[in-house]
């Protein structure tokens, strides 16, 4: 399997999906150039690389683009196999993909709605979110996690890498919610434990440090 020589990541400090890609690349020991995109004023070079969706993250390998965070993460895992982000067994893999899809399909869209709504409408969506988040915890604990500090066991894997950056986004969202917790260790103790563990790993801390320079004033 030929590995690319030149890797560029187009991203934004505001996008949780980009952090997933930073973490994956760093975990695999891949050197890459990072370009912070102003999402309100996207560069020509970036738009050329992702004309279809015009979104971050977009990974460019030897000049060729790859878009959509889940697609990028799987590409990284297949191109640099160590350490692996996915289990080997096809059925286990399908479970990981199912819960990754659940996060993108069910959980993430609700966070956008929460941000845009207010009062009673917002309270209703928050309730929906809490139910979804609990379903996620129950599902992962039943079908993916067996032992170890991370969802994937002794080492972090794809689901840890997706949920971790989501956690940051959720904590940020909570700030505007008047005391309501989206991430409550009484309601979803396992997710809290896994996210907490993930936040301590070096690649997460290194990425946070690297991204400080791009944080809005």
């Amino acid at each position: 399997m030929t590995q690319p020589n030149e890797i560029k990541l187009f991203g934004s400090v505001m996008s949780g999906f980009c952090y997933m890609v930073h973490h994956a690349l760093k975990l695999k020991g891949v050197e890459y150039d990072y370009i912070e995109e102003d999402l309100k004023n996207k560069s020509e070079e970036f738009l050329k690389m992702n004309p279809v969706h015009k979104k971050v993250p977009t990974l460019v390998v030897d000049g060729k683009p790859i878009a959509e965070s889940l697609v990028i993460l799987q590409y990284i895992d297949e191109t640099w196999p160590e350490p692996p982000l996915m289990p080997q067994d096809p059925y286990q893999k399908s479970k990981v993909r199912f819960w990754a899809d659940f996060i993108y399909q069910k959980m993430v869209p609700l966070t956008f709605v929460i941000r845009k709504s207010e009062g009673e409408a917002q309270a209703k969506v928050v309730d929906e979110f809490l139910t979804i988040f609990k379903t996620l915890e129950d599902g992962i604990s039943k079908e993916v996690h067996s032992e170890g500090p991370f969802i994937h066991g002794a080492q972090p894997g794809l689901l840890d890498m997706i949920i971790g950056p989501c956690h940051t986004g959720l904590k940020y969202l909570e700030q505007g919610l008047d005391g309501v917790k989206l991430v409550d260790d009484k309601k979803t103790p396992l997710l809290c434990m896994w996210m907490d563990e993930y936040s301590k790993i070096d690649v997460v801390k290194d990425t946070a440090e690297m991204m400080k320079q791009y944080a809005p004033a």
């Binding site: 889940l70 799987q74 199912f98």
Partner: protein
């Protein structure tokens, strides 16, 4: 969970998502038992096998469920590695295939549904959007025989079931796929000659009959 050996597909006859799984297995020569679900009265088995989404298709392999059509197709690919691959071996090419299957997933069904569910200005807007989606796909297809190149692949499997809906979309929204995107139209015809596709897609008139029935049930003129 029943430890019933073999492959069962819980499905609904006209579902393009279910057809992805049927076509993938047909391409690979995998035998399976087809079980038609009554979506108005879902079976206990379906609710047990897919408690989270309660949707078809669900592939049950030796008693263990796999849900979500593209996840099912990837599972079929990996669980039967000795059979004709649908995904390329090169990671970059695989990423492109996953991207385009995801594009079909995000865009085609929802916009297509709006073509028959909406009226007036909304319908016109949906038509414009749908043709643009087809044009983007046509640009990706280019002059290739299939999205997979010379071989029928993952993106072809993801998109081909919607070709049975083209006639319904055209009739409802007033446009022609052949005129708007001739390469997609030609690709659809080529796919239609494959045994797997012939066997598992329904005739366009039957699909349209179904759409008309749905419209009536939903009170849409």
């Amino acid at each position: 969970m029943e430890s019933h050996k073999g492959v069962t597909l819980l499905d609904f006859w006209v579902s393009p998502f279910g057809q992805r799984a049927r076509i993938a297995m047909a391409e690979k020569g995998i035998e399976f038992e087809y079980k038609e679900e009554n979506l108005a009265q879902k079976s206990e088995l379906l609710l047990k096998m897919n408690p989270v989404h309660k949707k078809i298709p669900v592939l049950v392999h030796d008693g263990k469920p796999v849900c979500e059509s593209l996840i099912i197709v990837q599972y079929i690919e990996e669980a039967w590695p000795e059979k004709t691959p649908l995904l390329p071996s090169d990671p970059y090419q695989r990423a492109q295939a996953r991207f385009w299957a995801d594009f079909v997933d995000k865009k085609v069904y929802d916009c297509g549904t709006r073509l028959w569910k909406t009226k007036g200005e909304e319908k016109e807007a949906a038509k414009k959007e749908f043709i643009e989606i087809l044009q983007v796909l046509e640009s990706e297809l280019g002059d290739k025989k299939y999205f997979g190149g010379e071989t029928f692949g993952y993106v072809d499997v993801a998109f081909v079931p919607f070709t049975a809906w083209f006639h319904s979309y055209e009739s409802e929204a007033g446009f022609s796929v052949e005129e708007s995107v001739p390469k997609i139209s030609a690709w659809a015809k080529r796919c239609g000659e494959r045994e797997s596709v012939k066997k598992h897609l329904y005739e366009k008139e039957k699909v349209y009959e179904f759409v008309c029935m749905l419209k009536k049930r939903l009170g849409i003129e």
